[in-house]
């Protein structure tokens, strides 16, 4: 069974099964914990791998359909892996009024991807978010937890170029 990496703990090939078990034991017996479980699972893998969800289903007895339903209902959950740097582009009202659309176009052109996609080299993922709550700095984006405010299309391109340059 060593071939699939599950160390014989189950019939699904899932990485870091020990850590997954740890998460599940933390919520054992607490009803209504599915969202918290999924948040922790995403914290572990950066996204929700199908194998991990199947494993959660098997161990908790929650139906796969229900897990998938919850995972696709909330914007926080991702079913695909993300790039090394996640760009969260704010689409709040203040940012919209102050030109978030032009920023999105500039980022998409600079990286050659659309919203929700990851660049081929796996460096960037662009995700639109409803509001980062930094309205007085609009338009705003967040890269790896750092906020960049008062953006212009030019400034956004320069920031991305800097991140790219730091990778070379």
């Amino acid at each position: 069974m060593a071939c699939c990496g599950c160390n014989g703990k189950g019939n699904v090939a899932v990485k870091d099964v020990d850590k997954l078990d740890e998460i599940l034991s933390k919520y054992e017996g607490i009803k209504g914990s599915l969202i918290s479980i999924l948040q922790d699972v995403q914290g572990l893998y950066e996204y929700l791998p199908e194998e991990a969800l199947n494993y959660v289903s098997e161990k908790t007895g929650i139906q796969r359909a229900k897990i998938y339903g919850v995972a696709t209902f909330y914007t926080q959950f991702r079913l695909d892996p993300v790039g090394k740097h996640v760009i969260l582009l704010c689409q709040g009202t203040a940012c919209h009024v102050n030109g978030a659309k032009a920023i999105e176009e500039a980022i998409c052109e600079e990286l050659g991807i659309s919203e929700g996609e990851t660049t081929e080299d796996g460096l960037f993922t662009l995700t639109n978010v409803a509001c980062l709550g930094c309205c007085s700095l609009s338009p705003v984006m967040m890269i790896d937890g750092e906020v960049f405010g008062k953006l212009t299309p030019k400034k956004a391109r320069e920031i991305l170029k800097e991140v790219k340059a730091s990778e070379e």
């Binding site: 209902f73 689409q91 009202t93 102050n98 709550g133 007085s136 906020v147």
Partner: protein, 584 residues
Amino acid sequence: MKLIVGQGSCGVAAGAVKVYKALEEEIKNSSADIELGTTGCIGSCYLEPIVDFIDDAGEKTTFVTVDGEKAKEIVKDIVAGKAKENECIIGDEDVEAMAKQKRISLRNCGIINPENIDEYIEAGGYKAIERCIKEMTPEEVIEEVKVSGLRGRGGAGFPTWFKFNAARQSPGDVKYLVCNADEGDPGAFMDRSIIEGDPHALIEGMIVAGYAIGASEGIIYVRAEYPLAIKRLNIAMAQAREKGYLGADLFGEGKFNFDLRIKAGAGAFVCGEETALLESLEGNRGMPRPKPPFPAQKGYWGKPTNINNVETFANIPFILANGGEAFAAVGTEDSKGTKLFALAGKIKKGGLVEVPMGMTIREIIFGIGGGIANDKKFKAVQMGGPSGGCIPAEFLDTPIDYKSIQETGAIMGSGGMVVMDETTCMVDMAKFFLDFTCKESCGKCTPCREGTKRMLEMLERITEGKGEPGDIEKLIDLGEFIKTTSLCGLGQTAPNPVLTTIKYFRDEYEAHINDKKCPAKQCKELLTYTIDPEKCTGCTICARNCPASAITGTLKETHKINQDLCIKCGKCYEVCRFGAVAVE
């Protein structure tokens, strides 16, 4: 002597952490005897990062828009006894704007260290709950809230005492208290600022409410997108437990046990609706339940539950410590107390403001917010986010109270106030909000799921220049239909931005539909780009950047745009260094 750095999310985004480090380093280097502290959001986001200096006599000096270099200068000036001469000192106008506010729910924000319970206690904290448990019955607590006239600050404005009482009267041994901190309105950050700046105010408010309704467990449902708020809440809850304000037998009176826990939301606007929030708390998709039964009768796991938002709870300790009448003395006849607003958009001084009810919208936007950025003309203000509406210039003198705002077609909402100027297209704005509610519709009921989609499609057509006569009437018909037939608040309010913009800016819709023009020059498909031969120097930069090869011309000669090929991307306008590209 003490230096305090404002470290709310917006302060941090503006560079407060770097400022803190620079201050720390400079204090160390100059071996000055200055204590360094942290506080939450003071509300003046446009002035961040903000540093307060308290001298030995207790006098405060405020420094604004500080950066790493300026921070060092501040320490040097303090050491040299010249703090008042520093270039970063706050302007008189900004001090005045602050003085026009009345702070009840923000009473400690930007003053105390949110991670230190002792500072909250020193400021009079946890006195309210002590009074409740030692001197009052739950019924008396509810009566005090009734006297205050407090109404829910989450949007609908339901009297708080009534909700408390309904949960109190509901039969059952187990009852729950829930705080809705799922601030999903894009453009609003009131709840976040309270939690980051004064988490104990929320915690104490919840303990009082728990005592009033007879709940021993409270849950705070907070957005996962607010990591700093969650962190500070966790710290505050641990400190409150240690001091015995949370846990078993509070104040040793043998009357009341209460504890709190946090549940991080996972991002769904509809979860601001109370029954959807309950579904989410139970680990399901956040889809609303039909009402009745109301949560006060059958809520979390079928038990009587009271749900209120952060601002509402943050007002409660003030009411119980100072009496309901002190709160009711502020505000108007039907709307008591203060209201928080997040001022954003095309405004000079954006940030968080707390004003007495009854203040006019004009006073908030122009008196406190400093008016419109770049001195452009005011066009409208959006209140209540995607559930609210646009209020035009002729209603600027409307006082802030539940009834007056509702009469304009908007709603008080949770406090988002996004200001728009003449360059904002109202049709595009309506489309923006509808796009949001359409995506956030949970899909349970047909009017909301299908109706918002059809309305959005119509608006998309209109902004693309494919509008047809009769579209406006169709939008109104469908909008009214969705409002009256949707299951929950999301659908019942989703058409509001469209209906209010049609009501007040119908001419803009007509210009899009009949003349195929966007008066605010925002809707791309309706624009025409031309090059002014007088200004064009023939630098070729536009031609080189045009993705559609629609621009012709050679070096040092006037360039021209072929309108048949132009895709209206605006690239030429963006790159031209001579302002030669005109947009019509």
